[in-house]
Point group: D2
Chain length 300, copies 4
């Protein structure tokens, strides 16, 4: 298939590489040119502007946040010059509000908008094992299916409204953040009563909490291993903000998300924005007056 690909960051790059490996033709563009050159070495065509990449049968975008979508022109100018009938797969995590706005703007111009955000970090993307949640018009999902297969191990089709996939992604990230906060509080509490974090986590993840989210984040928190970041804490704050905004739009109070917002903000205020978001657990420790000392938030 002819594919345009915009946004070649830690996630976008390996996803584009998977599409190339699957035999698709890619026109790629990224704000900074390095990643595009690298993909050109793998067979992609590096183009000079976003407009040239927003072409083909399907355009895939993977930008950082709502602001990046607006500044690249995806809420306006870029759409005007795209070929009618093209499918735009937005695989990034953006707000419900932007999702609605983009869906309407695409429809007005005869383009098809599909929300298809992913769960999984860079290494998972490189292995083609992402979990993809997709919603949009049925026919567009069919057309995108080979791309999903190249990038993910499983794709969930949630329905015709792009807001659905956006909501699942936002709710999912909120749930992960809640797990991190819960582990932070629980391990701090247990440690003060003579139970090391790894002991608490071993017991609990052997039965009721036997899931990757507890094992993975539990290991990072118990070992205080927050570098290199799999997902930056600053992005975690952004995602909690998306959950709060989605709640405001739908009039859903989210007290856990509110606690998370303040805790993430506290972490950022203490200089931890670029650590893995598992470092949120350090907030609970600091509040309890634990001696974290210099370098506490460093790799073990």
């Amino acid at each position: 298939m002819e594919i345009g690909f915009i946004g070649l960051g830690a996630m976008g790059r390996p996803m584009a590489a998977r599409l190339l490996s699957a035999g698709h033709r890619l026109r790629v563009w990224n704000r900074s040119p390095g990643p595009a050159r690298e993909l050109a070495g793998q067979g992609a065509e590096a183009v000079g502007g976003a407009a040239e990449a927003f072409r083909g049968d399907v355009a895939v975008t993977m930008l950082a946040d709502d602001a990046a979508y607006r500044s690249v022109g995806l809420a306006g100018p870029l759409l005007d010059q795209a070929p009618r009938g093209m499918v735009h797969l937005n695989m990034a995590t953006v707000s419900i509000e932007l999702t609605r706005e983009l869906a309407a703007a695409h429809a007005e111009r005869g383009l098809v908008y599909v929300a298809a955000p992913v769960f999984g970090r860079g290494d998972v993307a490189a292995a083609g094992k992402l979990t993809i949640v997709a919603s949009g018009p049925e026919a567009a999902l069919d057309r995108a299916a080979p791309l999903f297969d190249a990038m993910g191990q499983r794709t969930w089709r949630l329905g015709p409204d792009p807001s659905q996939a956006a909501a699942v992604k936002i709710a999912g990230n909120f749930m992960i953040a809640s797990v991190i906060e819960t582990i932070g509080e629980a391990t701090t509490l247990a440690a003060r009563h003579g139970v090391p974090p790894e002991m608490l986590l071993e017991v609990l993840t052997s039965s009721l909490f036997n899931a990757p989210v507890y094992k993975n984040y539990g290991a990072l928190i118990a070992g205080r291993k927050y570098q290199p970041p799999g997902f930056r804490l600053a992005l975690g704050l952004k995602d909690v903000r998306l959950a709060l905004a989605a709640g405001e739009g739908a009039r859903v109070p989210l007290p856990f998300a509110s606690v998370l917002r303040d805790a993430f903000l506290e972490a950022v205020a203490h200089g931890d924005a670029d650590l893995d978001w598992a470092a949120l657990a350090e907030v609970a420790r600091r509040r309890a007056g634990s001696e974290v000392g210099a370098g506490a938030a460093q790799p073990a």
Copy 2:
């Protein structure tokens, strides 16, 4: 072994039955006599008072809360008449404060105190598949090992201090309650954006959240199936209170537990004390103004 057993409620009764099946001799007592009579039919000796049951090689207790321990006399009088050297296995969920007090009171009188609370509901107890977290003197844990084997599928030995097991149990229940609240908020949010609760849960529990705690509580919440209760919501409030108290004793702020306290209290204020604690999720729905209507919190 000669075993005394005090407290034959929804958990204590099947646990005692397991011990009988394993060939131990039991003296049993319960405040209301029905359960003791029933166990007598299975070979136990039903005795007339707590003092007569607090005897033998090992005494097992499974009472509702701190207050029950105090009112039965386990913080004082009952200890004075117990045989020196006897091991007391407290398998209930009680406060860190009571745990410390009992450990000291037992030591003063030449008795051995072991905290051995359990994870699992009544049906799990009946199948002998509880998860037991135990801490206390090494020799006492050795002596209790055959009893643990009869009641549980796995026993964790956490160390010599009874507070350790109490803390793991309290932290574990806090973590379960956090999961329930998280699911309540996340499903309410997603539902408002066109994603039914069961769809959100199916997606998430297929990968990152692939653990019994999400599957079990997710199903109850999606189906609004809160009766009969596996664990009463009023007991959930009690356990959150234990977490908050353990935090206060150790100077550990627990903002998630604080949110949970208020949510449980709101649920109780709305008449849901006797539903399963998964009904906490209804608080999130009600706050969002969802039409819950009459009978909303009933089985689907």
Copy 3:
């Protein structure tokens, strides 16, 4: 002085009338034409567009929120055609972010931006007794002084940076909202222990809490008198959002503001957006399961 005035709502209209009474010449504009016609009857010149009103020695604006400022063109086009050197007094409550953006945009075009938000409701504005908090270039504050005197009983000059006045206004509204929530919780608690809300408030406002904010909101809450609204609850939610955004911009966690956000959202979800924001207190009552019944949030 020659004054342009944009935004003739519940606050803007009486403020403009005060300026007319003080002998100033006003060009007025409002999105809906009614209020401008009314002021024309008092001597103002009603003009046909915002651009014609954004003229003169000083332009005063009093719009609803950030979005209104953007849609009217005050973040761009309107500025290009305004006379160089003109002072723009923004007397509305807007975000710190917009304040910074407007200050920069004005400076680029040789215009002078002053933030001068007010404390006080419509009746206070009509009496010329507003409290004005102003910040911006010294000379501009001097030029605006006669206008402030016509509209307010006291003007605070906070410094040269427009963000200062915006921050004081946002912090002040956050503090009022905190008082409302506090009264809601405290009166619900006391009522359950036999102390009617008016009794609690009478005792406390006679000494330590002897301030208008407790007396005024206390009376509304005790009497459940939320209509007509002095300040709509939906605007209260907006202002809490401004506080949270100001906190995020400056990395300041605000746990009380987070609680307020969820409570305001719950109030809106239950249909109270158009009541006075004192109706936030009904959230505390509802959570406690108080029988509020049909029409509870009506005037006594």
Copy 4:
């Protein structure tokens, strides 16, 4: 009148002195003997035990907390030997639960229990200017009236049930704590936007917030003057706990009180238990990453 007085701490001592000055005969007792000797020098009779002081027409008690009441025997033994018909004025801040228990225990023994907690610090007590909130049987309040007049500038009679006065005191202290937290958050927010705390407070306490509670605590917080403590932060935590317990007893969620609990706990965890409770504001600053440095919480 013949008066017994138990509890001669920072508040009890000046209160007892006021009663002596008013011409009453006092039998005084305190756990540590110093304060009793001092009062003996002013004409009181220092007795050797609590039982000897719990005598006379009226007994006044002013102990630290629930635990002190229990350990002195006021929930049991002391009552058995007191003269029938004696009025017991409990002027301390204790829980609703203890209030109910004591009221019942006194009634059973023909004693009369009055709750009469006070607002005001040590210097206010010395000046006889306390605000007293009293509830209990009408006749007992009449009998105590001359004592109230000697100790306070104003006494509120709230009704026949001792819980009423206890609830007003608990609600009042919760409201003060909410003010401290609000000021802490608001001043931290404003400071980050160029508004010094004293400027924010001067503006707001000149109008809407013109009350002693904002002026007094605002000055302490702006000046970071937390020593010597007028009311220790550890006692503030205790009082928030009383509010939460009163809420639990009556099924009233109190989200602000929950935030306060965690903040007080964090302050204690950072070593501030013995500072004035205005030091709660330092928690907001620390969370925002403000450089508080060594000695930050010292007198200015």
